[in-house]
Amino acid sequence: MRIRRLLIPALLCAAVPAGAQQRGNDHGSVVIIMGQEPSTPIPTLLNGSANIAVSDLLFLRLARPGPGLTTTEERSFEPQLARSWSRRDSLTLVFEMDPRARWHDGVPVTARDVVTSFARVRDSTVDPQRALLLRYLASVIAENEHRVVVKFRRAYPGQFYDASFHVQPLPAHLVEQIPRGRAFANSEYVKNPVGNGPYRWVRRDPGRQLELQANPGFFLGPPKLDRVVFLTAQDPEAQMNLLLDGTADLFEAVPPVSGPVRLARSPTTRLLTVPSLSVLYLLINQRAPGDRERPHPILGDVEVRRALAMGLDRLNLARSTYGRFALPAEAPAAQAHWTRGLVPGGPGYQPAAARALLARRGWVDRDGDGVLEKNGVPLVLRLSVPATSATRAIMAPQVQEQLRRIGIRVEIVRLDFPVFIQRRNKGDFELDLSVANMDPSPSGIVQSWSCAGRAGSNVAWYCNAALDSLLDRTIYTGDGNEKSWRSAYAMIQADVPAVFLASPANSIAVHTRYRNVSFRPESLYGDLWRWSVDPGRRIARDGAGAPSR
């Protein structure tokens, strides 16, 4: 499959030099550039991919999906906190925890930690997104110190994924007493979190960097990279400069078109491609901006949205923004999802048909200014874009230009990132170029595209009851199969809640001195603890050993 074809080069790079590193000190450090600051990398407070990436180094799950991300097959998962698992019946899973697992303060990880953490996550006031994904969970019980029994209300293929992926257990002995909500966010625990993963917390320098140190007693094997530093740099220029002048070793968001050219000049950096779980789409607000009770006067009309979809040349947009790193997308299915091949082909780029469709709905250019009108109202739409995104900076003007050709005037509104997110969450936008980092399982689709998701990431309040029941049947019953996924994607395409544009891959720049390098689409730095440094190529900061205080 395509996924395996893309992963094999990455794994090969790791496999080939593996034999050479046995002698000599292969320990080192790694400095990673982050575009947004990971200020709260703690489960139940994870917002944004930066926080998620860091928390994967601090906190483990019961099990994690295997490299192929076939999330409906139990056998493909890899043990983490759980050493083994079994089934009692079609509704019950049993996890045997690994007795070697310990929190960073030495206390063993037990079933009680898992049970209390599940209780927290299922509280919809704490984490509404995940509570939604776990709604068919009946109970989570600790049968003894190391056995967790998870019972479901329904039998469906994604049970194991739901039981293992959404909850990263927190230490009950430290967290139980802290009330949920704001008190937790401001608590001492969050300022100095204690996890159970391969890395432990050292300190955070707000706005600048975050430092982690290897956990030498990590039960799955001591990490060879002793020190991990996350440097925050929001400006795309600053990011590339930090990489190119040797201050940083790793950067996951290399600009897809200009980046490879610049990196080609650097002998110490190489570029790896990892299929990602992102989908880039033009989100259409079907509600009036700022007043969700009323429909949007222009975009509430499904034919207008279809015209928008036909007026955008996805192939060109994907190629010009991402170069060879992206495939055009027609539905919310990313490159790494196993359902990728089940997306039906859409109407494609047909500007003439788009114009004709708009004309049929009454949008005509009477005054010859190039912009269509209907009842005196011009077809003008605002496109919100976060100011620091290099890819949006390339895509937005093209969207503007392509839609101009079918008579729609698009005004680009550049917003600072926090303001962009705020407005988006409040539904105060008309068009929005969003990048969604989806869950490893395509079942995560319900968070953004179902009626229940309106409490969470479904910021445009798209709600189609027929789609909801189809998704429910596809994901949460034994009847779900490829055919029903196909119908679900086709229904989304017909509704056009968004114009799906591209599914990009991650273009990651890594320093050439690292060995055993591998990445996971759902957790980029999840394998960092297996990396090592070529003993002959260590640099000054690799010898740092103990972290600075």
């Binding site: 400069n241 930090l242 303001v419």
Partner: protein
């Protein structure tokens, strides 16, 4: 004399008050009440919103707002940042001031030493090819936008030829136990390009001022007299003529500050130099109005102070200016 100093001080204080008033007017003039943005665009708890409303008088009548604004300015309390909530604006400014002072100081030094030397040389060789061509080169540099020159320098010197670092003030990965020498070298390497950019784009001013001042002094009788006495040319030039250009050059110091500050907004943001300029640039990007207002107030205050010091300096240097 004391009375004169006091009067100047009072004048400066009055100017400061007017500055604060003007800034308040500016704030009210800006469309879409920027203080209301404080509570609109950020994710704050209702309690925090109330606090901010209280503090800034959002939604209160204009005079109430003005009063709390003036009172705040007098106390030295410039409010709270929107983006780095709840950090105070004054503490943000204080944390960034040293970097800008360092950069500004070095630029001033470079500019004045080189600019003065070149300006004097131009005046002495008036009309020559040197005079004309240095003048043209300086003028060309003056026409360059600071952000553009900075980018070009970064592209070639840092990125292509890898001679100097491209951004920031220090190497973030410098070990904490590094000795003073290493730190100093690191600092100088990071300082070089931003200082060069700011100096080049404004050296024309210093050169012109110095040249014009020297030319007007050369015409004076005592210079001819000094030459007639047989003094060596260098002594005439530097000992007598140049000394007398100090007074007009002092006025330049007063002009300098606004130019330096404006230029540093661009240059510091291109080089990610952690000073007031890049703070302002970030505040622009994040629409952090209190920080921008606070920076404007600080800078204006500095300009008034610089003007006052220049005047006092004048009085010290030139006895004719002092009131009898």
């Amino acid at each position: 004399m004391i009375r004169w100093i006091l009067r100047r001080l009072l004048q400066a204080a009055a100017t400061l008050v007017v500055v604060v008033l003007l800034l308040f007017v500016l704030m009210r003039l800006a469309p879409g009440d920027p203080l209301a943005r404080l509570v609109g665009d950020r994710d704050l708890a209702p309690g925090e919103i109330e606090l901010l409303r209280e503090r800034y008088g959002v939604g209160r009548p204009v005079l109430v707002q003005l009063r709390s604004f003036l009172a705040g300015a007098a106390r030295g309390d410039l409010g709270v940042s929107i983006e780095h909530y709840p950090d105070r604006v004054t503490s943000l400014l204080a944390s960034r001031l040293p970097a800008t002072l360092l950069l500004g100081g070095v630029v001033l030094l470079l500019n004045f030493t080189l600019g003065i030397w070149l300006g004097v040389r131009q005046a002495v060789r008036r009309g020559s090819r040197f005079d004309r061509w240095t003048g043209r080169l300086a003028l060309t540099a003056y026409a360059m936008p600071g952000f553009w020159l900075g980018l070009v320098l970064v592209a070639f010197v840092s990125l292509r030829w890898q001679l100097l670092p491209a951004a920031q003030m220090t190497d973030p990965m410098l070990p904490p136990d590094a000795d003073l020498g290493t730190r100093l070298v690191d600092l100088l390497r990071h300082l070089a390009l931003p200082a060069l950019t700011l100096s080049l784009t404004s050296i024309a001013l210093t050169m012109r001022h110095q040249r014009a001042a020297m030319l007007s002094v050369f015409r004076l009788d005592y210079v001819t007299a000094a030459r007639a006495r047989g003094l060596p040319e260098s002594q005439v030039r530097w000992g007598h003529a140049w000394r007398n250009t100090l007074v007009p050059m002092l006025t330049l110091l007063g002009l300098w500050l606004p130019i330096l500050v404006s230029g540093s907004v661009f240059v510091e943001s291109v080089f990610n130099w952690p000073g007031l300029g890049s703070l302002a640039a970030q505040a622009i990007a994040s629409r952090d109005y209190p920080v921008l207002l606070g920076t404007a107030m600080l800078v204006s205050g500095a300009v008034v102070l610089a003007g006052l010091l220049a005047d006092l300096g004048y009085a010290l240097v030139d006895p004719r200016v002092r009131p009898s």
